[in-house]
Amino acid sequence: MNPRSLFLCLVLALVLGCSGSSEPAFDQSALVDSLGTVVIIPTYEAFADEADALAIEAEAFCADPTVSALESLQAQWRSARVRWKQNDVIAFGPYREQPWRLGPRIDFFPVREDTIAENLAVDEPFTLERVSALGTASRGLATMEFLIFDTDGVDAALSRLQGEDGAQACDYAVALAQDLSVNAEAMVTAWSEDGDNYLGSLLDSGEPGTQFDSVRAVTNEIVNRMLFVADDIRVKKLGAPLGVETGGEPRPDEVESRYSDHSLADILANLDGLENLYQGEFEGTSGISVREWVETRNRRVAGEVLDEIENTRSAVLAIPEPLRLSVETDPALVETAIDAAFELRNAIGIDMVNALGSTVNFNDTDGD
């Protein structure tokens, strides 16, 4: 074969390759746009509504601190908590980036009891202005949880919120709820088109001043967040309290939301949020999904991720509440849930990432 023929063959191979099916590629910009408008912003809006209601309930309780009022406040805290934990999977952008950095203000873990006690000891009324000026360890849902819940029951919690000292704690809770409401609204504003339009900046990725250098990097971040949530459930939310990182000795204090015994509900909300993002839907409204994207590459993997989410959910539901006690009374059930979360982590972090050609924990170091 002479060189010219060889060169023509090379060109022909490319042309033949390019002349195949040219069905539209999966539109990742449309995916990001849809996830933002259908899932992310509505979830934050739902949280903002719950945070508003929480502020109202807190004020009502402190005006008339009764058991029923406290139960109502606690129920509202749980509702707000569920909405917030659904958003763990999208903890990027305004959640952690300046100038917003709203995530730690809304949910700082673990609770620093000493810091809260120091705040309460200061002879100064709690107002929204005062709380807004405090550090993140003194604010947010977890701090409020510490104030309004007690593992010994609602009566014990009520007794801490009554009397002269209790009034100070109650005012602290009201100011925290108001602060939450403000920050929740700020989160919606940060994402919304008529606000800071962070979603718009994601779609403009690569242009000057945007966080990501391409829409591809945005979808990569979303995949990474899904992986992180699955791994966090396995290692930190279930594994750490069970003692898997500490020689097998259970560590109930490591449980998230331990004052309210909302730990398992937190995990279930995490899974709901993960599924919402994967399915591209929220409260009956659906759009373009991550699942559809995965299906374009590997249908088996697309279905497997859903199966593993469901398996993990079932395993978590099988653990008796509260988790802080179950890690000692039913460790086998907790281990089963950890195993299920392990499979979910692997389905996302290995199969899904492999199918999509994503980069885990994106790093722009060269490859070859």
């Binding site: 060189p3 060889l6 060169f7 063959c9 090379l10 191979a13 490319l14 033949l16 390759g17 390019c18 002349s19 195949g20 099916s21 040219s22 069905e23 539209p24 590629a25 999966f26 539109d27 990742q28 910009s29 391409s214 829409v215 591809r216 791994d231 290692v235 594994g239 898997v244 990182e245 500490t246 020689g247 097998g248 374009t296 590459r297 590997n298 088996r300 993997v301 392990f342 982590r345 692997n346 389905a347 972090g349 290995i350 199969d351 990432v353 492999n354 199918a355 999509l356 050609g357 994503s358 980069t359 885990v360 924990n361 994106f362 790093n363 722009d364 170091t365 060269d366 490859g367 070859d368």
Partner: protein, 471 residues
């Protein structure tokens, strides 16, 4: 000329201009790479911040410089790259650059790249070649005198080294994943389907397969096409296009530019003269004789022997994977230093469990919390790095007072779209396994994926994800 003996033909003088340009381009690219490395914050990210590095076997005694030492080290490399580029004290500069650059590469397997290895080899080779005779500041300053010619073998040596990269890269592509499935190109191209105009095509497997075949043919044919005068120009144009496209589509850093500039060594030795104001006199027969005679001297034969040993090594070492069982891309035994470029999309996840054999207590270790994201990503798919990490954990637990510990790995990975499977036998105590060149029997072989490896062969029927360790 046709009746000349081989030693005379190898020693025949040729214009040193192309070798001079090659040296200058190499220095320029190294300078650019170092500035880029610094600007991206990689000196700190890769060599200062990590709690643990993964040095190559036999080089665990190497440590990063303390304090600002690594920055000073890279600054010195930058100065050496400048000297190489300018052609001033090139030989010592190349030797020191080789030592300094290779030291950095040996610090951590995480950062292994084929082109980093290529840079180390080239800097060593160039140190022994007369690269300063033309296109150099040394010549301009009068420090270098005499003819601007170099012996023909000097060009041949560099051409062989550059050519080996392409040939081995092409041979490595002759596998079913690449040729029949278009993987991993299909995955990577589909991931870039957001590119305007051509994005839709990139999602098409037929395009990926076509591009895979074109890539393999390119790698296998480009060297002879560059060597043959009649095809040189279109071949070089194809080479430039190939590297620019791959550089645009994939994150491969300076590799495309290194190869585009490196391939100029296949041009006529005097090609730079077309762009120079004062062409040098062509090499004369007078300068031929002493060099031919020189080749017969003992020192010259020693040099020839060393070069022969070098290329024997360069031919054999990339093929050492044949000595190991299993798929090289899966086990990665004999993978590095073999010019296996862009052959795999491999993802993995790993946890390790440390067990105190005296009291039975165990600790789950999630390496994500101890390694950088980049290190974790690399270790999760590379068994020899897992072994290093396991030994690190065993040592750490020993220091904590646990005198008899075992370390087990729960490692799963997926290769080129196959379903995930175990990479490491979870029942093997890695703390007791030794590092080295011996085959790692604790690597679980790659099992066929019925959706991929069956290819119509009904005798391979696996209905569940393969798990060779399952009881």
């Amino acid at each position: 000329m046709a009746t000349e003996r081989l030693p005379d033909r190898l020693a025949a003088p040729v214009d040193g201009a192309s070798l001079g340009v090659f040296r200058a381009a190499f220095g320029l690219m190294m300078l650019y790479s170092i500035v880029r490395f610094w600007a991206k914050g990689w000196i700190s990210e890769l060599y200062i911040e990590p709690e643990l590095l993964f040095p190559y076997w036999g080089f665990s005694w190497l440590e990063p410089w303390p304090g600002i030492g690594m920055y000073v080290h890279f600054a010195v490399l930058g100065v050496l790259a400048c000297l190489i580029m300018l052609g001033l004290w090139s030989r010592p500069a190349l030797v020191l650059f080789f030592v300094g650059f290779t030291y950095v590469e040996l610090l951590d397997r995480t950062t292994y790249l084929n082109h980093y290895y290529f840079i180390s080899i080239l800097s060593l080779l160039l140190a022994f070649l007369p690269v300063e005779r033309a296109v150099s500041l040394s010549r301009w300053l009068g420090r270098t005198t005499g003819p601007q010619s170099v012996p023909h073998w000097a060009l041949i040596v560099v051409r062989c080294q550059v050519g080996l990269v392409y040939v081995f890269a092409g041979l490595a592509k002759l596998r079913a994943d690449w040729l029949l499935r278009g993987e991993p190109l299909h995955t990577w191209l589909a991931a870039r389907s957001d590119i305007p105009w051509i994005g839709a095509w990139l999602d098409d497997q037929a395009v990926a397969i076509g591009a895979s075949w074109a890539g393999a043919l390119f790698d296998l044919c480009i060297v002879p096409l560059l060597l043959w005068r009649r095809t040189r120009v279109p071949a070089y144009c194809a080479l430039v296009g190939f590297h620019l496209v791959t550089g645009y589509l994939f994150s491969i850093g300076v590799f495309p530019i290194v190869m585009i500039l490196g391939a100029t060594i296949f041009f006529e030795p005097s090609w730079p003269r077309r762009f120079m104001r004062r062409p040098a006199a062509p090499p004369s027969e007078a300068s031929h004789e002493p060099q031919a005679a020189g080749l017969r001297r003992p020192l010259a034969w020693l040099g020839a022997t060393l070069i022969a040993i070098h290329f024997a090594f360069q031919l054999a070492f990339p093929m050492r994977n044949l000595l190991y069982p299993g798929d090289t891309l899966w086990t990665e035994e004999g993978y590095r230093f073999g010019w296996r470029v862009m052959l795999m999309e491999k993802t993995g996840e790993i946890d390790l469990r440390v067990v105190d054999n005296r009291d039975g207590r165990s600790w789950l270790v999630s390496p994500r919390e101890r390694l950088t994201p980049f290190q974790y990503r690399m270790m999760a798919t590379q068994p020899d790095m897992m072994l290093t990490f396991a030994h690190h954990l065993a040592s750490e637990w020993h220091d904590r007072g646990h005198e008899d510990v075992s370390v087990y790995a729960e490692a799963w990975a997926a290769l080129n779209g196959r379903r995930r499977q175990r990479l490491v036998d979870p029942h093997v105590d890695l703390a007791k396994e030794t590092e080295g060149w011996a085959p790692k029997r604790w690597i679980v072989p790659l099992a066929p994926d019925p959706d991929i490896d069956d290819l119509g062969n009904s005798s391979v029927a696996v209905s569940e994800p393969p798990d060779p360790i399952a009881h």
